[in-house]
C-alpha cells in the first residue's frame, strides 16, 4: 500500500505516493524529478544528498520519504531566488569551487545551513561543518575559500 505524503518543497506544496521504506532522496529524485540532489553512498557518509528538513541539514538518504509529511524541504533547486543565484552559488562559480560538480549541490546546501546558523564561520568551523560532505576532486581548498568568501560577501551586503 502506497502512502500519500503532503509536504512543502522549496516553498511550494507538493504531494506524492511512496512505499513506507522509500528514502526521501529516492522520492525527490525518482518521483518528484528533483535530480539535483545526488545519491553517492546511501549510508549518510558522503553528503551528496544533503537537503534542509525544516531548516535542519540532513542526508536525505537517511530520511524516509514518509517523514516528509507535513514538513518543509529545501533542495538545491530551491536555493536561487527567481533568476538570481544564491550568493553561495555565485561565489562557487567565481572561485572555481567545483570540478566534476556532483558533490556541489550537497556542499551548497550544507554551506547554506552553516551560514544560516553561523554567518561568520572561521576556517576551522567551516571545515568541521562540511566534514560530512565528500569531494574527491578539489581537495576542499577552493570550496572552503568559497564558503568563507560568501560569508564575507553576505556580511558586507548585510552591513550596507
Amino acid at each position: 500500500m502506497k502512502l500519500h505524503i503532503n509536504t512543502t518543497i522549496n516553498g511550494e506544496p507538493a504531494e506524492f505516493l511512496c512505499d513506507g521504506h522509500e528514502t526521501l532522496v529516492s522520492a525527490l529524485r525518482n518521483t518528484l524529478g528533483l535530480t539535483g540532489t545526488k545519491e553517492g553512498c546511501s549510508t549518510g557518509d558522503c553528503g551528496a544528498c544533503s537537503v534542509l528538513l525544516d531548516g535542519r541539514l540532513v542526508p536525505s538518504c537517511l530520511v524516509l520519504a514518509p517523514e516528509a509529511h507535513g514538513r518543509s524541504i529545501t533542495t538545491i533547486e530551491g536555493i536561487a531566488s527567481g533568476d538570481t543565484l544564491h550568493p553561495l552559488q555565485r561565489v562557487f562559480l567565481e572561485d572555481a569551487a567545483l570540478q566534476c560538480g556532483v558533490c556541489t549541490p550537497g556542499f551548497i546546501i550544507a554551506a547554506k545551513a552553516l551560514l544560516d546558523a553561523n554567518p561568520n564561520p572561521t576556517e576551522a568551523q567551516a571545515r568541521f561543518w562540511l566534514a560530512g560532505n565528500l569531494c574527491r576532486c578539489t581537495g576542499y581548498d577552493k570550496i572552503i575559500r568559497a564558503v568563507l568568501d560568501t560569508a564575507a560577501t553576505m556580511n558586507e551586503a548585510a552591513a550596507v
Partner: protein, 771 residues
C-alpha cells in the same frame, strides 16, 4: 618556442557548465529516466574464488515484474580487442569481469542480472536465483599468488613478456624488464647504498558518483546508451563486442560525469543493460550502490616494491635496482609497466635494472587510477632517495638537483627528454618559503617528486559559427575538471570572440569525431590542440569570406585579433565604399551570401606529449599518544607547460594532492581471509574530508611544451604521485622511523612508535617525536 602573449588563455572565466552544476540541473549518469524503463540489478558472487556448478534462474524469471534475466551463457564469447586509450584490451576479460562464466574470481563479481518494473522487484527476483558454487581457496596478495602450489585463478593464463620461470600454470600474468648500463659495476662505485622493501594497499578512485547508465536496444538491434564515462567510444566498442552488437548500431551519449580518475574507462554495466533491454524490449536503467562500487569496480593495485639505490659521497646516484609486484586483481593488466617506467624518471642514473611483475589475485580487476602505477613506484624510490640524503647529510632538494634529468637526457623509460620543467620545479621548491619555514613540535617535513608521461593520442574537434559570430565547439571528451571551459577559451583566443559567446559541448559518439578517453592528462593538450586547429581553420575561412566581400585575393587580407583587415585601397564589393576591417560577427552575418555556413574541423593523432614533473612539500604533525597524524601545511609545485585556466589547474593539483594524502595516511581495502572486503563504505574506507586537510598551496611552473601551440603539457595526473613519498618522508622526520608500508594509519604508526619507545630503556611512556 617564441614567447606568445595571450588575451584569454591564463584568465579565469566562469566555466560554461557551471550554472547547471550549482543549480542541480546538470544531468549525471543516474539522472536520466526514460519512458517505460525497467530497473536492472546484479546478483554478485558471495565467494572470492569458486567454480560455478550451476545457475537456476527459472524462479526469478517467473517472479512478479521481471521482464528479463541474464547470465554469462547469454553473452557471446569474444576475443575482440579495443583501444583503451593508452593500451589495447582483450574484451574477453572485460566481459568475464562484468558477468562470470564458469568461475568467479573475486567477491562481488556479477553472476546474473535481472530487469524488472521496479528496483524492489528486481532485487527480490535476484534472491530467487539459485547458484551452486564449488568454493576454492582465494589468493589475496602477490606473495600468496606466486607461492609454489598457489591456487590458480585462470588455468589458461600465460605469462606475457620476459618470464624467467614457466609461462603457464602460474598467477604471474606478465614480467617486464627495463635496464641500462652495468648494475653490479655501478653499485661497486657507490659510497652508500640504501635498500628497502615497500608495500602499498589496494585503494579506490573514490569518485562520488557511482557508476550508472540507462540503455535501450530496439527490435532492429540498435542501441542507445546514456552513461557516466570517461570514454564514450570505449563504451560503444566494448558494449557492442560484449553484448554481441555491431558497433555501428550503438550510440553512446556521455552524461555529466561525477568524477572518474581513471575508474570510468572500462565498462561494468552498459553491456548488461543493453543485453537486458534487448531481451525485454524496454529501456533498462542500472545504478550501482557504493558497496558495489567498492567491491567490483576500480580499484588500483596493492603493491610490493623493492628498491636498492647507490650513490657516491657527493650525491651522484650510480646504480639502482628496482623490483615491482603489482596486484592486477582478478584479470591481467596491472599498471606495473607504467610504474616501472616512472620509478626512476626524474633521475639520470647510468646503471639500473628494473623488473616488473603483473600478478593476478582474487580481488576486483584494477582500473586506471590517476597516473596509473606511478604513485606506488615513486613512493618507494622517493623514500629511498630521502634516506640517501640523510646518510649523506645532504639537503633532499640538492640531492635531487644533483641527479635531475634535463633536456637532452635519455629518460630512464626510453626517449630523450625535450624541454622539461624538473629543475625549474626543484628550484621553485627550494625558493619557496615553506621549505625554510620552522617546523613545529611533533612535526616533520617531507619532500618528494612525482612524474607522469602525460598523453596525446586521437582527438577531433568541430567548430560551427553562428550568424551572430558566436561559436559552438564539439569534442568527444567528457569534462571532468573544466576542459570545456579551457576549450572555449582556446576558441576565444584564436577567433578573438568573447569566451562567453563560445558554447562548448561534449558530443555523443555519433556526433564527435573519434576521440580517445578523458585520461592520461591528454584532453587540454591533444583535444585542445584539435580545438585550436579547428579554430584556425575557421579563421582562414573568415579571411576567404572577407576577401570575397572586398573582391580581393584571400592572401591579400590579414588577421588581427578578431578582425580581418583589407589591403590598402580595397573597396566593399557591394557598396563600393572604402573597405573597413570586418569583425568575426560582421563576416558571419554575411555567410549566407559568401558561401554558406562556416565550419572548422580538425582531427589529429598526437604520438608524443610533454612529460610532467611535480614536487610536494608536506608538514605532518603526529600525535604520539594515538599515532594519528595530520597534514598541517602542504605545498604542491608543478610544471604544467601552460595553464589555460589557472583556477582549474590549481584545482587539479589540489585534488590530486588530497587523493595522494588519503592514499598515504588512511585509505586501504581491508580483506578478511575469505577475500571479502570488510570496509566497503565511506565510513570505514576513510577518504580525506575537509577537516583533515589544510589549504593546499600551489605553485604553477610553466616550461612550455614545444609539442603544443600554447605550450600545454597537461596537469591532472602528476599531483597524485608525490604525496605518498612526501607524507612518508615527513613521517620519517617527525618520528625518526622509516615507514615502508602504506597507509600510515594511526594503529600502524602507534605500533612502530611504541616499538621504538620500548627499545629505549628507562624511558617508559615517553616518545621521541621530532627526532
Amino acid at each position: 618556442m617564441s614567447e606568445r602573449t595571450f588575451e584569454v588563455v591564463g584568465t579565469r572565466p566562469v566555466r560554461h557548465d557551471g550554472v547547471d552544476k550549482v543549480t542541480g540541473r546538470a544531468a549525471y549518469g543516474a539522472d536520466a529516466n526514460w519512458p517505460g524503463m525497467l530497473h536492472g540489478a546484479l546478483l554478485r558472487s558471495p565467494h572470492a574464488h569458486a567454480r560455478i556448478v550451476s545457475i537456476d534462474t527459472r524462479a526469478a524469471a517467473a517472479a512478479p515484474g521481471v521482464k528479463a534475466v541474464l547470465i554469462g551463457a547469454d553473452l557471446p564469447d569474444t576475443h575482440a580487442t579495443i583501444s583503451l586509450g593508452e593500451a589495447a584490451m582483450d574484451v574477453r576479460d572485460m566481459s568475464h569481469n562484468l558477468m562470470a562464466r564458469d568461475k568467479v574470481v573475486y567477491h562481488g563479481q556479477p553472476v546474473a542480472a535481472v530487469a524488472a518494473t521496479t528496483l524492489d522487484a528486481a532485487r527480490e527476483a535476484l534472491g530467487r536465483i539459485v547458484v551452486q558454487y564449488e568454493v576454492l581457496t582465494p589468493v589475496l596478495t602477490v606473495d600468496e599468488a606466486l607461492a609454489p602450489g598457489a591456487p590458480l585463478l585462470h588455468d589458461d593464463l600465460v605469462t606475457k613478456g620476459a618470464a624467467v620461470g614457466p609461462k603457464t600454470g602460474t598467477n604471474l600474468a606478465g614480467r617486464y624488464e627495463f635496464k641500462r648500463g652495468d648494475v653490479a659495476a655501478g653499485f661497486q662505485e657507490a659510497d652508500t647504498i640504501v635498500e628497502r622493501e615497500f608495500r602499498t594497499a589496494t585503494v579506490h578512485q573514490g569518485y562520488i558518483e557511482p557508476h550508472a547508465c540507462i540503455a535501450r536496444c530496439g527490435e532492429d538491434g540498435r542501441a542507445v546508451v546514456w552513461c557516466s564515462t570517461q570514454g564514450p567510444f570505449v563504451v560503444r566498442d566494448a558494449t557492442a563486442a560484449i553484448a554481441g552488437l555491431d558497433a555501428a548500431h550503438v550510440k553512446v551519449i556521455p552524461s555529466e560525469i561525477g568524477g572518474g580518475f581513471g575508474g570510468k574507462i572500462v565498462v561494468y554495466l552498459e553491456p548488461i543493460a543493453v543485453a537486458l533491454s534487448r531481451k525485454a524490449q524496454r529501456p533498462v536503467k542500472m545504478v550501482m550502490s557504493r558497496d558495489e562500487v567498492f567491491r567490483a569496480t576500480g580499484p588500483t593495485s596493492g603493491t610490493k616494491v623493492h628498491v636498492r639505490i647507490g650513490a657516491r659521497r657527493d650525491g651522484t646516484i650510480v646504480a639502482a635496482r628496482v623490483s615491482l609486484w603489482y596486484e592486477a586483481g582478478a584479470f591481467r593488466g596491472s599498471p606495473v609497466g607504467a610504474g616501472a617506467m616512472c620509478a626512476l624518471a626524474p633521475y639520470t642514473i647510468p646503471n639500473f635494472f628494473i623488473d616488473a611483475h603483473d600478478v593476478v589475485v582474487n580481488k576486483p580487476k584494477v582500473a586506471a587510477y590517476r597516473a596509473p602505477g606511478s604513485p606506488m613506484a615513486m613512493f618507494a624510490v622517493e623514500s629511498v632517495i630521502d634516506e640517501i640524503a640523510r646518510e649523506l647529510k645532504m639537503d633532499p632538494i640538492d640531492l635531487r638537483l644533483k641527479n635531475a634529468a634535463a633536456e637532452g637526457d635519455q629518460a630512464a623509460y626510453g626517449p630523450k627528454f625535450g624541454p622539461i620543467g624538473l629543475r625549474a620545479v626543484l628550484d621553485a621548491a627550494k625558493r619557496h618559503p615553506h621549505w625554510s619555514a620552522p617546523v613545529g613540535p611533533n612535526q616533520g617535513r617531507g619532500f618528494a617528486l612525482g612524474f607522469w608521461f602525460n598523453g596525446g593520442m586521437n582527438s577531433a574537434a568541430t567548430i560551427t559559427l553562428g550568424a551572430d559570430g558566436s561559436a559552438a565547439v564539439f569534442t568527444g571528451n567528457p569534462d571532468i575538471g573544466g576542459t570545456r571551459a579551457a576549450q572555449a577559451m582556446m576558441v576565444a583566443e584564436e577567433l578573438g570572440v568573447d569566451v562567453d559567446r563560445v558554447r562548448p559541448t561534449v558530443a555523443d559518439t555519433d556526433t564527435a569525431g573519434y576521440t580517445d578517453v578523458t585520461g592520461g592528462s591528454r584532453v587540454c593538450f591533444a583535444t585542445g590542440m584539435a580545438v585550436i586547429q579547428a579554430a584556425q581553420e575557421v579563421r582562414e575561412e573568415l579571411k576567404r569570406r572577407a576577401a570575397k566581400m572586398w573582391n580581393v585575393a584571400p592572401e591579400q587580407v590579414t588577421w588581427e585579433r578578431g578582425r580581418v583587415l583589407p589591403p590598402a585601397g580595397a573597396k566593399d564589393a557591394k557598396s563600393g565604399a572604402d573597405a573597413q576591417p570586418l569583425t568575426v560577427a560582421q563576416i558571419a552575418a554575411r555567410m549566407t551570401h559568401t558561401g554558406g555556413p562556416i565550419v572548422g574541423r580538425a582531427a589529429l593523432y598526437a604520438p608524443m606529449a610533454g612529460p610532467g614533473f611535480g614536487a610536494h612539500i608536506c608538514d605532518l604533525e603526529v600525535d604520539p599518544e594515538t599515532g594519528r597524524s595530520r597534514v598541517v601545511r602542504y605545498t604542491a609545485l608543478q610544471d604544467v607547460g601552460k595553464a589555460v585556466h589557472p583556477s582549474y589547474v590549481e584545482g587539479q593539483i589540489q585534488g590530486g594532492a588530497a587523493q595522494g594524502i588519503g592514499w598515504a595516511l588512511n585509505e586501504e581495502y581491508v580483506y578478511n581471509r575469505d577475500g571479502v572486503m570488510e570496509n566497503a563504505g565511506f565510513l570505514d574506507y576513510r577518504m580525506p574530508v575537509a577537516s583533515d586537510l589544510p589549504f593546499i598551496d600551489t605553485v604553477i611552473v610553466e616550461v612550455p611544451n614545444p609539442l603544443h601551440p600554447y605550450g600545454v603539457r597537461g596537469v591532472g595526473e602528476v599531483p597524485i604521485v608525490p604525496p605518498l613519498g612526501a607524507v612518508a618522508n615527513a613521517m620519517r622526520s617527525a618520528t625518526g622511523i622509516r615507514f615502508t608500508e602504506l597507509p600510515l594509519s594511526p594503529p600502524r604508526v602507534l605500533e612502530q612508535i611504541a616499538g621504538v619507545d620500548a627499545r629505549r630503556e628507562g624511558r617508559p611512556g615517553t616518545v621521541a617525536v621530532g627526532a
